[in-house]
């Protein structure tokens, strides 16, 4: 029942929120709902160890061979957990932000959460598609209604990109569906079908799916919607987008791409990995030159996600584990980063790095938090990102599906040097040096901000020192994915 | 008389009607051209009706009569249309003091 609760709670409270009149109750109700999801997801973690209540299936659109089948496996658990953790954090961090038509805003946020949860637990392709859209459509409204001046333009770009991706994915899903012998959308049927499809067919399906996922991640060169959108939309929306929603793409690659069309994934692996690695360097280099904090973080996110993309297609057990733990860690870090950026903007009235300076003198606590989060972003040991990136690099390096593993590792490794450069540059220019006009009157963090940032810092350190707690969760599923996408046995057959 | 003669005549009338509509700007003449086109069709319908009747009367006494019924329908509709159309033209003349259809490009705006 737990996966159903994950979906139903935000869905129902989201719909209910449309009927709220005032801002305050809407805000509290949204927080309350997200906290309930969090509690359930934590309880779900304990249930996971005993393996109960994590599955649910009823017939739904039976004439189509589709059923409402949801299940939380290890990977779903990590992602549901991160969704559940991030929502309360986001709500508390932006507690003081004012919104027009706040009830609609919170309603759409919760609907997005329902969609995200659904994507992570869906075990049926049609259901997966349904939730994929459910997560994205409220997002369009959020981005187009609340944000900066050019938000409409940015949203349309986002819309066209993702919509094109979704439609192609739908074509792919329907095609696979028509090929299944029992005409079923269930994931088992797709996995079974994947083993029998010819390479040429797989190739088509691969690109249909991959385009949708690559746009969402995003992988170079499908990324240009992201910086614009992050720059234009409100901070809390950006947090959802970059913290949770981009993980949809990574997640979907692991669940719906590799195991289903494994031969095509193997054959195109080098190309995709090259794209991802180019993206890492490309985005890092661009991040060096960004003056707008939001754009800088956006590009750094592209670089980090690029590393995940490269790891996925190197198909190693350690790499998969690394990607899964890194999805969680990246979410925590980037939300932390956005909170810091949001606070800087609120306190100083600008996001331009060149207009900021000496903030550490006025806001020492914020400087410390920013430093820890920034160092987590550059994957310093004993912060969470180190674990993930270490395992991912290890995965890429030890990959047996590509001959260029060393080249990829080295190039991606240059990315982490560049990350150090732009993050430290940013910290230096924003927090150190002399005060400027914009920062002269800034104040330090307040209680809600301190609370959220402390939680984030604790998570960063906890996951950095004792990552085993999460690694245990994803053990099984990593093996399953690896064995499902095991190409050596398939190659001999074809 | 072979059916071809009727067809050619009808075709000629129809073409005259179309060309008239395309090149004339006077609304009344355009109207008359539409009538010519309708009558070209009527002529054709009657001709074919007669032809079918001659061929099929042995098997079925009413063969081909539906074509003539159509003609009556068309004449009735055309008469109705003429009344409405002329009324519109009159209103148009009252409003813009012209019956030049090139002034009627308001659809664009």
């Amino acid at each position: 029942m737990i996966p159903v609760l994950f979906i139903v709670i935000p869905l129902v409270s989201g719909l209910a929120l449309f009927f709220f009149k005032n801002e305050k109750p809407a805000r509290s109700f949204a927080l309350f709902s997200s906290l309930i999801s969090l509690v359930i997801s934590i309880l779900g973690l304990t249930a996971f160890s005993s393996g109960q209540h994590l599955q649910f299936a009823v017939t739904w659109l039976g004439f189509l061979g589709s059923s409402f089948s949801v299940k939380v496996d290890g990977m779903g658990q990590v992602l549901c957990l991160l969704t559940a953790v991030s929502y309360p954090l986001i709500f508390i961090a932006t507690w003081k932000n004012q919104y027009r038509k706040a009830n609609n805003y919170f309603a759409l946020m919760l609907l997005t959460q329902a969609g995200l949860m659904g994507v992570f637990v869906a075990m049926d392709a049609l259901l997966f598609y349904f939730f994929w859209e459910l997560a994205v459509i409220p997002m369009y409204f959020l981005c187009s209604q609340w944000g900066g001046e050019k938000r409409i333009q940015a949203t349309i770009k986002f819309f066209i990109y993702t919509f094109l991706g979704s439609v192609l994915m739908l074509v792919g899903i329907i095609y696979l569906y028509s090929k299944t012998p029992e005409h079923s959308f269930s994931i088992e049927a797709f996995y079974k079908l994947g083993k029998t499809l010819s390479y040429e067919t797989q190739e088509w399906v691969f690109w249909l799916f991959f385009f949708a996922f690559a746009v969402k991640m995003p992988i170079f060169p499908f990324h240009t919607w992201q910086p614009d959108l992050y720059e234009q939309s409100g901070s809390s929306i950006t947090m959802v987008l970059s913290g949770v929603m981009v993980k949809m793409g990574v997640f979907a690659c692991l669940r719906w791409l590799l195991p289903v069309v494994s031969i095509a994934s193997y054959r195109w692996g080098d190309v995709v990995t090259s794209m991802a690695v180019i993206g890492i360097l490309y985005a890092s280099l661009i991040a060096l030159k960004q003056d707008d904090l939001k754009r800088m973080v956006a590009y750094s996110s592209i670089a980090h996600i690029g590393l995940m993309g490269a790891t996925i297609f190197s198909e190693t057990y350690v790499g998969f584990q690394g990607v899964m733990i890194q999805m969680f860690n990246h979410c925590i870090n980037i939300i932390g980063m956005w909170i810091v950026v949001d606070m800087i903007e609120k306190k100083c009235g600008t996001r331009k790095i060149s207009e900021l300076g000496g903030l550490a003198q006025r806001a020492p606590s914020l400087a410390i938090f920013a430093m820890v989060i920034g160092l987590a972003n550059v994957a310093l040991p004993l912060t969470n990102a180190f674990i993930g990136e270490f395992m991912m690099f290890n995965g890429i390096f030890s990959s047996s599906v590509t001959q260029y593993n060393i080249v990829f590792t080295v190039l991606a490794g240059i990315g982490i040097i560049l990350a150090a450069i732009y993050i430290l540059n940013m910290i230096r220019k924003v927090f150190f040096g002399d005060l400027k006009n914009s920062t002269a009157r800034a104040t330090d963090t307040g209680w809600s901000e301190n609370f959220v940032l402390s939680v984030i810092v604790i998570l960063i350190l906890w996951m950095g020192v004792y990552p085993d707690s999460l690694l245990q969760l994803t053990k099984e599923i990593s093996e399953t994915i690896l064995s499902n996408s095991d190409i050596t046995s398939l190659l001999t057959k074809h | 008389m072979p059916i071809n003669y009727y067809i050619f005549l009808s075709l000629t009338l129809f073409t005259i009607g179309i060309v008239g509509i395309l090149i004339r700007r006077n609304a009344i003449i355009v109207f008359m051209c539409i009538e010519i086109m309708l009558n070209a069709v009527n002529l054709l319908l009657v001709a074919f009706s007669k032809m079918h009747h001659l061929q099929g009367a042995a098997a079925m006494p009413t063969a081909g009569t539906d074509g003539q019924i159509f003609v009556f329908f068309i004449m009735v509709v055309a008469a109705a249309e003429v009344t409405v159309g002329l009324a519109i033209i009159v209103m148009m003349f009252r409003n813009i003091h012209s019956i030049d259809i090139n002034f009627l490009n308001r659809l664009k705006h």
């Binding site: 550059v378 395992m391 080295v410 450069i421 150190f432 085993d468 | -």
Partner: protein
Amino acid sequence: MQNALQLAWLVPFFPLLGFLITGLFRRQLSKTMIAIVGNAVVFASLLVSVWIFVQVKDGNSYVAEYFNFISAGSLKIPFALQIDALSSLFLLIVTGVSFIIHFYSVFYMKEESREHYGRFFSYMNLFVFSMLLLVMGANFVIMFIGWEGVGLCSYLLIGYWFKNKEYNKAADKAFIMNRIGDLGFLIAMFWILSKTGSFDFAVVFSKASALSTTDVTIITLLLFIGATGKSAQIPLYTWLPDAMAGPTPVSALIHAATMVTAGVYMIARSNVLYSLAPLSQYIIAIVGLATAILAATVALKQNDIKKVLAYSTVSQLGYMFLGLGVGAYSAGVFHVMTHAFFKALLFLAAGSVIHAMSGEQDIRKMGGLRGKLKTTYFTFLVGCIAISGIPPFSGFFSKDAILLSTYEHNKILYVIAIFGTLLTAFYMFRLLFLTFNGNFRGTDEQHHHLHESKAGITLPLIVLAILSFVGGFADIPEIFGKGGNRLTEFLAPVIPLSHGASVSHSTEMMLMFIPAVLVLLVIVYAWYRFKNYRPSEEKGLGKILENKWYVDEFYDKIFVKPLYQLGSFLNKTFERSVVDGLVNGVGKLVNYGSRQIRLLQSGQIGSYILLMVLSMLFVFIIQFFLRK
């Protein structure tokens, strides 16, 4: 007494505790409390380290696994600490020198406000923690944690005065240069894992002999890249001189005594691997020697007291690497130890001078300080003698051990290395003479202000001076009597004794004393040269040396600027016009097309009808031709 070593975790734990206390409660605690906590934790570590050292001396060693740090399938990385001869020696050096420097900082930093005082000590404690982790790690990953941790602390401490932009830039530079080296380390680790299946020192070294020479060479070279970053060797050494932006105790602790020796430690630790890769050893020796000479030449013309010391550090590190490169691992470690003593001494004495001069660091504006700063002068002199390698001071023995091995290995390298030691003596005594001899060249106000530092500052100097004097006897060569080479024997469990072609005793004696005599001559020449020093503009080679061979400018032109230009190009041109242009282009095309097609909807009924008729005709014609 195997169980006694279970206390090992306390060694890094104390400084971590200190970091948390002084860091989190820096606004609540008084400065005295902060100083007490900050020192007590390091002292506690020192005591435990001594205890451990005594145990190890009895032949114990210990590996403890605390919890699974990372475990994924066959990859198991426990959080494990290791105590053996090498690590226990380093524990002693690190905690010992750190404690002296912490003690010194209490007085040196006393002008700082409470909050920053706390910040300073928390960083220092964090540094000690990271360094201990580096030294005690039982596998490459734990070592890497410490490895990056000290880089972080160095970054934090260099940028300690965060209002100064230049200092922050120096901090960034240190971190990034270290990062470049770290990438080499990281890839070396992956390589090791893929070949041996483990990160554990014990497992890796036991499987080392089964590796192919290519693998070992690549691994060792990659590790060496890591070492060049941390230990400031060519080509990644330029951060260290800039790192002098930090407070002087930091320079002493991090950039002289401990952190920079991490590379030496790491290579000494992996000596099994290096012994299997002669090519790597050769490269290390060359790079080490080149660094030693390069840095020494630059030090000749520097005028900032700390910069001279910084370049001398780089140069001495070069000697350590030379020692490692010729296979004299224990000699390298020995030099780490003696160097820690006398370089910490020199830096702290320099700090005392800077204090006395009210923050002035330019030696051209000093001179004649001997009269007012007696203790500082004598301790500084001890340091200079020690680093120049005059018997029986510590530097003589350690440097001699390295030079002797070099001689056995390669005569040309030996001659160049001797030349380097002469340079060392020259620039160190230039520094000494310019600072303490001759006439005072600063302002009257500074002269008036001149004073000897308080006991809190001079006491550490005296302790270090004694250590600099006696430190060398720890590994006194066998030829001076029985019971020599004790350090080498102590380290034997980790670093196997070499049984190379030994030189005869008479040659050894000669090799010791000829350089010593030459060094003395150089010192006399330096005295003659700088006895009546007048600051003058440098020309020709002097100017190049003063500007550090323009290496920074070169790096700036070759790497930094192009990197930013590339970023700028990608950002402004490529992203906007190519990638985004492609996307927007599709949108624009659709837009343009629809605008053109829109013209058909003119609103003229005639044109609609014409279009209709033409289309009908078109359909008929198509139909007509298709029929045929």
